[in-house]
Symmetry: D2
Subunit: 157 residues, 4 copies
């Protein structure tokens, strides 16, 4: 059979911060509804936490996502990868570290690292999401030049 | 910077069915709560749909997941990859196709393909999750031999 | 202080089935994501289960909710009451019993009773939701006469 | 048939603040995952927001809910009522106002009012949840005297 080796698993290390790069750090308090019967945060919630980090990163870049939608286009998640390295628990105060790591003509990719406040060296979950820019007719379109420029500048890319 | 090329994105094609392989096919009706403001299924829900498929696959293999937990061990999701190729909508009847594609000493990997009923040739979402077997003390342990054997047999591995 | 006495708690007993009344009964398998750290179904999920029951009731009455929205109006939940009498657990097979108990000019009210399959006499959760008909401008409008008629007929009202 | 009149709907007005009463006010930013295809916050999420408010109220009273569970008892939601008066949208900054309105031998009741930041006079959603104290064997037990005392003091009851 085909083999999912480590080398092909989609893991990605974003490396050291770039010069002038903005790295988002937003706190999240784990809600009871987000835990499961194993008394840990249910894994799909980390995709939601990733989005909380991404929304805030985009806001800091000067483009509230809500405004993007009102301008008639959107950013759709088209691919994602997650590693769950250690559990998070009810009432934990987590930090989502968000970095923009790639901007292409029609897409961009964010990387996330989730840690517990006060234990920032230990990664609980990491991963990335690739997003495609979509216009009103629902088709992929180039990222607006102004947006792409602001994203690259904020990310030090 | 590092590059997330296509070749390193964690994409995986499980290939043709193996001889004797059981492929799960379980229907899911999209709930209103699972849609978002873009009027499509919010992406994190597909990890939940994957689990609905996996739970049923494991049940068909003769090991209801609930019994596993009562026997003092669990299967934890440690890594996951998803591609969102086309949107699903409210009230759609989806099918989760689930295949077990890899069994190792302490882990196993399931692959999923989500389609709309009646349009089975078109993949809406696909991806995989790797699970590790964890004992009562919370550490990775070998999959019980009986379970591993039953899994391999059911999967034609 | 004001007192929330039993008599004012919003509890409602829908009574015996009416002549010709359709009572919906739809099964739901509890998902792992719906449990919480107390190893029971997190309480907000029952509002989602209520909606699964309501959607199916409306479909059986000949008005798929999706079509309603495409015709330019919607039914918004404006009020709800729930009693949590006994817990539900992972992998339980539940039944949502749904009854339409009231139809007014601009609103209607559904009642729900959630039981475990095979133990139908024991109520786990019950409650009701009142919905208002809303037109394209977002304001309450009368229920379309055809819909109200079909609802009353199906409910034996 | 029975009638759900206004007077029996479970609505409750908590009245003016009591002398010395602590009223919790915690902000919540609406997440994309919490919206639905009508582009508003899906109604079941407000029960989750209520819990965010309650958790913080209890923490301010000096009893982090997590510690309660570690001491071998819990507070289970047994009944709830919600009114949805106006919609909330993606990225809105909401405030959950939480008040403890009743403490009895084995139960207590919290009331919530959700508003948009900067428009505090307009209620979007309000409601209450009644909770019962449950011991390790899963049965209702009296609230520990120290807890009940601290709750009453904080609430000005």
């Amino acid at each position: 059979m085909n083999d999912i080796g480590r080398e092909n698993r989609g893991r990605f290390e974003p490396g050291s911060p770039r010069e002038g790069e903005y790295i988002g750090r937003i706190p999240i308090r784990v809600r009871y509804s987000e835990t499961d019967a194993q008394a840990v945060v249910y894994h799909s919630n980390f995709l939601i936490y990733f989005e909380v980090g991404r929304t805030d990163w985009v806001r800091q870049a000067g483009y509230p996502y809500r405004d993007l939608e009102q301008d008639g286009f959107g950013l759709f998640v088209v691919e994602s990868h997650l590693r769950f390295l250690a559990p998070a628990h009810y009432d934990d105060r987590l930090i989502v570290e968000t970095r923009l790591i790639d901007v292409r003509t029609r897409s961009c990719t964010f990387h996330y690292r989730i840690v517990r406040e006060g234990e920032e060296e230990r990664t609980l979950v990491d991963g990335w999401t690739a997003l495609v820019c979509v216009g009103e007719e629902g088709r992929a379109i180039p990222l607006p030049a102004e947006l792409a420029g602001a994203f690259r500048k904020k990310a030090g890319l």
